[in-house]
């Protein structure tokens, strides 16, 4: 755990970068510091490994005041990843990753084995080990940076816009990979970004800073989006706050309605009655095992006699329990029925999600 206790940083020119900050970063969580430039987020991050010294207040790492630890000693226990990566151009990928093991005096065999392990962990092929950084792509370099930071398995990682220098497609892939990696390694991570979407995607908790180094709000993303504490936070989250929140809530969080469900063998008139009872002009068609077949116009079914005689149209998009409500909303707006149909893993019909259910959930 990392605790800031009334930490202030004033620079020589009189500007206050961080103003009386109290913050607790829980163990094993990914905490994002986010805010516009000049809000003190990077300064806050760099005070944790004493790259910048606090002007007043205390920073504790696992209960120990870091001001009392020799900086190089402290830094070897804290992984560090920056946007420009800062790989050593004169060392091979393998030697770059071996930097901290070498500094703390691991023997050669242990280091070699660890380098191999880390290359695999970050998804790099073994043959890049003997290449130099300038022979890699931007995405590969970023992975080497992460591997280097993880080398001695430090309990804490500091990441300053780590995915800022790669193109959006690579960035999104690196983010996903990193989240999977974090599931595995469970580090205490402090992550700086100016991109609120990245913060929402990556963070277990988000600290929003305002210019002048004020912490405006510190909360899990879901809570932040639901109840922004100040106008600044609401502005920073942006006008699509509701949509962003939907992305964080799983479909399983709302109770799906059973909807007008019929089977192909049912009488068309019965289908029409079911649709009218539900208040729609369509019915969901499932087979005897409740496997989803599609939907049909209720009127057409009534005319033709049997539901199965009407044209059964597929639902182009279906959602599952673990999908986000944002995916459900997308399915709704793309379907003539105006609802999202929820299915199980075996494609069995589980119910429908409506716009009404969504707005009830987020309002």
């Amino acid at each position: 755990m990392i605790s800031f206790e009334s930490v202030t940083k004033r620079f020589g020119d009189g500007t206050t970068a961080v103003d009386n900050l109290d913050l607790e970063v829980p163990e094993g969580d990914l905490t994002v510091l986010v805010g516009p430039s000049g809000c003190g987020k990077t300064t806050t991050l760099r005070m944790i490994n004493r790259m910048i010294e606090a002007s007043s207040g205390r920073i504790l790492v696992d209960g120990q005041d870091i001001a009392k630890v020799d900086p190089p000693e402290l830094r070897r226990r804290i992984g560090y990843v920056i946007q420009q990566v800062g790989l050593f151009p004169h060392r091979t990928v393998g030697d770059n990753i071996a930097t901290v093991p070498e500094l703390v005096g691991w023997d050669k065999r242990r280091t070699e084995a660890r380098v191999g392990e880390l290359l695999e962990l970050v998804g790099l092929p073994a043959e890049v080990r003997d290449r130099y950084p300038h022979q890699l792509s931007g995405g590969q370099r970023q992975r080497v940076g992460v591997a280097r930071a993880l080398a001695v398995d430090p309990p804490i990682m500091l990441m300053d816009e780590p995915f800022g220098a790669v193109d959006p497609i690579v960035r999104s892939r690196l983010q996903d990979e990193f989240l999977r990696l974090q599931q595995e390694v469970r580090k205490t991570i402090v992550f700086v970004t100016h991109d609120i979407d990245e913060a929402i995607k990556m963070g277990d908790r988000i600290a929003i800073f305002r210019q002048g180094g004020h912490l405006e709000q510190y909360a899990p993303p879901d809570e932040l989006l639901a109840e922004p504490a100040t106008d600044f936070v609401a502005d920073f989250l942006g006008a699509e706050r509701g949509l962003k929140r939907l992305a964080l809530i799983p479909v399983s969080a709302v109770k799906a309605e059973s909807g007008p469900v019929v089977s192909p063998d049912d009488d068309g008139q019965a289908g029409l009655t079911a649709a009218e009872a539900y208040g729609s002009d369509w019915v969901v068609v499932v087979d005897g095992d409740r496997r989803l077949l599609g939907w049909a116009h209720a009127g057409e079914a009534a005319e033709r006699g049997r539901v199965g005689d009407a044209e059964i149209r597929p639902f182009q998009l279906q959602v599952r329990a673990e999908d986000s409500l944002r995916a459900a909303l997308n399915a709704m707006v793309q379907s003539r029925t105006g609802v999202a149909v929820r299915v199980s893993d075996g494609d069995r019909y589980e119910g429908i999600v409506t716009l009404e259910l969504l707005s009830k959930e987020i309002s």
């Binding site: 190089p72 920056i82 050593f88 004169h90 290449r131």
Partner: protein, 225 residues
Amino acid sequence: MTDAPAPVLAAELIRWSWVGDHLDDIRGYLFQHVQLTVLAVLFGLLLAFPLALVAVRWPRTYSPVLGFTGVLFTIPSLALFILLIPFTGLSVRTSLIGLTIYTLLILVRNIVEGLRGVDPDVREAAQAMGYTPARQLLQVELPLALPVIMAGIRIATVTTIGLVTVTALIGQGGLGRLFIDGFTLNFTTPIVVGIVLSALLAFAADLALVGLQRQLTPWARSRGS
């Protein structure tokens, strides 16, 4: 009016028999030339490094350091050697002190520029990985500054090889002694031998330093041509 005797052009630019008779002398001069050059550049490096480190650590000292070594560099070489004679006499010491002083400007400037040219992100990363300042200098910054430092060493070496000949006037001089011999004897052969050998020496030294640099910077070799 046209009886004037044809000018006694040095009938030949080089008399090989003289070269053959003086091989031992020539070898000795060449050896001294190499020795003076190597020692001057070495002492130059020993002095330039601390000066450069001070200039990098405290940037305000850079201008004065550069200014001082620059002033030393502008003193005419002959004048400098003559100025030193009252203190150190007509000795190897005098020529070494002079030659070393002339390497300082180039070496200090290139070491400082080399160290300053290290990518700040790389420096930041090294610090954040937990390098102590001394280890960071030796293992990260110096290797990365090496190409610029080596460029300085090359210029300093070639310049020194030229300057060594001047010290012949104070009784040292390596191959420069051949110029004095040729001049006093009014005989071109030693002069030609001296010029050719010192040029070859400069060329060979430069080539050797380039080779050394390639050996020391394997990461630069794989860069696209």
